[in-house]
């Protein structure tokens, strides 16, 4: 039994008088425990919708989403989602945001602050514990949101272009940190991005999506050794191969 399996999923949005929009069509994918799957595709191809289905925030119109063989019918307790938009609670400071899930568990203030200290250092926010989200830059907010998700310690991390707003150096550093956590904590990660370099660097497998309607174009297993070298021939070859596939999709659509 697969850890996560999506079985021939369709998602149609029918909003009132407007034409129904087919966001996803015939999506099937499996994800084993401990994988790091990247989903690559152009904006608006339904990547976010896919994550929301896995998180249990939405239900498919047809088909089934299964977690360990059980249908996801409500909020998926084994997963948390790092949103693309800023999602920190504006009325909480950084440390209260990050330790939000621990407070829900009834953990004492001092204990939960101590517990997230390492995470705060990991995402480079030491010294900003008492700062409020409005006092942080976009990149810092996103790093806090990642730390908040990690503090919840779910089996599966769903990430919706979490590094999109970051500069390249920070982005590379956080990619490496994410891999460290992934290896150490044996997490399962589903990572949505439109950055090919990011996908090749992180993924055990890559799903390439095409849009209107969103569906899977191709699945690629990445078996490059880690740590991956961005300058290596294999890395560059794979990068070009994916870019060509995405390019073909674009060509087909513009015709």
């Amino acid at each position: 039994m697969a850890f996560l399996s999506l079985d021939n999923i369709d998602k149609v949005y029918s909003g009132g008088k407007q034409e129904p929009v087919v966001a996803l069509k015939h999506i099937s994918m499996v994800c084993e425990e401990g994988e790091c799957i990247c989903i690559v595709g152009s904006t608006g191809c339904g990547k976010t919708t896919l994550l929301r289905l896995i998180a249990g925030l939405e239900q498919p119109t047809a088909g089934r989403a299964l977690m360990a063989g059980k249908r996801i019918t409500d909020i998926n307790p084994d997963a948390t989602l790092v949103f693309q938009q800023y999602s920190l609670f504006p009325w909480c400071n950084v440390i209260d945001n990050i330790s939000f899930s621990l407070a829900l568990k009834g953990m004492d203030k001092n204990i939960r602050y101590e517990k997230v200290r390492e995470l705060i250092e990991l995402v480079g926010l030491a010294g900003f514990e008492k700062a409020y989200p409005y006092e942080l830059s976009g990149g810092m907010q996103q790093r806090a949101a990642i730390a908040r998700a990690l503090a919840y310690n779910p089996k599966m991390l769903l990430m919706d272009e979490p590094f999109g707003a970051l500069d390249e150096r920070t982005r590379h550093r956080l990619q490496e940190e994410l891999l460290t956590i992934w290896e150490r904590e044996k997490k399962t990660i589903i990572f949505v991005t439109h950055n090919i370099d990011e996908a090749v660097f992180l993924a055990t497998r890559i799903y390439i999506m095409r849009d209107s309607p969103g569906s899977i174009e191709q699945e690629i297993t990445v078996d490059l050794p880690r740590p991956r070298q961005r300058q290596s021939k294999e890395f560059i070859d794979l990068h070009i191969r994916i870019r060509n596939i995405l390019g073909k999709i674009l060509d087909r659509e513009s015709k």
């Binding site: 998180a55 949103f83 899930s101 568990k105 409020y132 908040r148």
Partner: protein, 273 residues
């Protein structure tokens, strides 16, 4: 800070000068009292006014009425607003009647309040009318009108605060293990708080605003509004003007007090675009 204070004093000083000039030109204290006469009243708040008691007595009468009416408005407006914002069906039930009642000026209800509540006071309800207490000065009709003025801003701002909680905060909390029960306390309440406080500030202002009208209800023997009517009947303009000035000053203070609380708890919302 000091500069802002000085700038803020320019207009009041200007008005005082103009007022004094006009008072001297008219030279009739039954029409326009001099600045000095009013200042004298303000400086001696414990002096008796036409055998109705002193200013502190009237201020506390008005103050307690407003606070009681306002408290009732808060106790009903905030919980009802929170529920209405959360439950779509309740919103559909309540909203039309709220939108109908809201534009009716509280003063329009005064004659009806007079008929319905007559001159019953809070003391009558508690059966304490045999001794003279401050509750003997608080007519039910007055409370009703003050409540009416305070309720709508409180209710409407609370509903607005709850409705405009961003979905991403609710979804984030749910995905961090927050069940539906705790969602209210952990996300909806803190997110709506700035709007609720704005409602309280406006509601308190409105409650204070209608006090003059409420104190025109018969049976009233105290309060700043009562003083205005009474001094009008006796053509004592300096008591009238002093009462008006006090109403303005106290209203500004009340608003400033709530604003302090608001600023302490709602900085994040002001800074959020």
């Amino acid at each position: 800070m000091r500069k802002r204070l000085l700038l803020g004093l320019i207009l009041p000083a200007f008005i005082l000068v103009i007022w004094e000039l006009i008072a001297r030109a008219v030279d009739n204290p039954a029409l326009i009292p001099s600045v000095g006469a009013v200042l004298n009243r303000l400086l001696h708040p414990f002096n008796d006014l036409l055998s109705t008691g002193h200013y502190i007595h009237h201020i506390s009468a008005s103050g307690i009425r407003v606070l009681m009416g306002f408290t009732i408005a808060v106790c009903i407006g905030v919980p009802l607003g929170l529920l209405t914002g959360r439950i779509a069906a309740l919103y559909s039930v309540v909203n039309p009647i709220i939108e109908f009642l809201r534009p009716i000026c509280p003063i329009a209800w005064i004659p009806l309040a007079m008929v319905v509540f007559k001159t019953y006071t809070v003391a009558d309800i508690f059966g304490a009318h045999y001794t003279r207490t401050i509750f003997g000065d608080i007519q039910i009709g007055m409370l009703f009108v003050i409540f009416y003025g305070g309720f709508f801003p409180i209710f409407i701002n609370t509903v607005h605060g709850v409705i405009s909680v961003k979905n991403i905060y609710i979804e984030s909390a749910r995905l961090l293990g927050c069940d539906k029960k705790r969602l209210f306390r952990k996300v909806i309440l803190p997110s709506a708080l700035p709007s609720v406080l704005t409602g309280l500030r406006i509601g308190l202002g409105t409650a204070w605003l209608v006090i003059v009208a409420a104190e025109m209800l018969p049976g009233s023997e105290a309060g700043l509004g009562y003083l205005i009517i009474y001094s009008y009947e006796l053509a004592d303009m300096d008591i009238m003007i002093t009462s008006i000035i006090l109403i303005g000053a106290i209203g500004a203070l009340l608003s400033y007090g709530v604003k302090l609380v608001e600023d302490r708890t709602s900085t994040w919302q002001a800074k959020e675009r």
